[in-house]
Symmetry: C2
Subunit: 147 residues, 2 copies
């Protein structure tokens, strides 16, 4: 099943990016959207989807570097943590729906598919939360030293 | 389907709590587990599951207060944000597996069930991330004032 998800992602990357941007523009609050230009939104979204797909096509090291870069960029442009996490959850739903449109899965296969997609996204979610937490903790401890 | 999930949660709360604590003891790192006594772990876990179920049985206001309380407590005892988020994701998987053990669902029903459980957990996840973010931002801005 893992190879099936991987192939699907490779083949549908551009469509996923377009659908994801449309969904996030609907979901995002003013704080997340109005602060950046449309170009920056598109570039960051592109980087986000590339990082997510990278988990399947690139080496572990390259994947982690990509996730770190996109998280740093998101912190910098002021995207709240919840915006990124909602984005990941939206991506999971989109992939599942698209895959189910293309093929009939049994109940067992559907659960297996959802588990695969979850397993694929979970490390990215954990790493994003970790980076945000570290970033905050670093700021707090740097300020403490300065106090 | 929503009522089905609600009834299931009401009836299986104690079992879910026991299974959840076992799972979290396996998943948790030293930072999350060794810092607190077993009693405090059990009390906090109990409060966590109560807060999650509260979304279905209590009023919106009571539910939000419960989530706020458990998040404050988690921050206080030093549980990392990722520990709580992994806990929520574990809870979803446990509920789905238990429900599927008790009844045969078709592929359509399975997806509907997963969507229902997701919809039920998503606001708690968002609120927990929000509370952690606010807590960090408050600390950073209080320190800035003191600098």
């Amino acid at each position: 099943m893992n190879i099936e998800v991987a192939n699907f992602l490779r083949e549908h990357k551009s469509q996923l990016l377009q659908d994801w941007m449309t969904a996030m523009k609907k979901l995002g609050d003013e704080r997340s959207l109005n602060i950046i230009s449309n170009d920056l939104f598109e570039n960051t979204s592109h980087e986000f989807i590339e990082a997510a797909v990278s988990n399947i096509v690139d080496s572990e090291k390259e994947y982690q570097q990509r996730v770190e870069r996109i998280t740093e960029r998101a912190v910098k442009i002021g995207w709240p943590l919840n915006f990124l996490l909602t984005g990941l959850s939206e991506l999971k739903t989109m992939i599942l729906n698209l895959m189910r449109q293309e093929k009939n899965y049994t109940s067992e296969e559907t659960v297996e598919l959802i588990t695969e997609i979850d397993k694929w996204v979970a490390p990215m979610s954990t790493q994003i939360v970790e980076s945000y937490s570290n970033n905050w903790e670093k700021t707090v401890s740097l300020q403490k030293v300065a106090l």
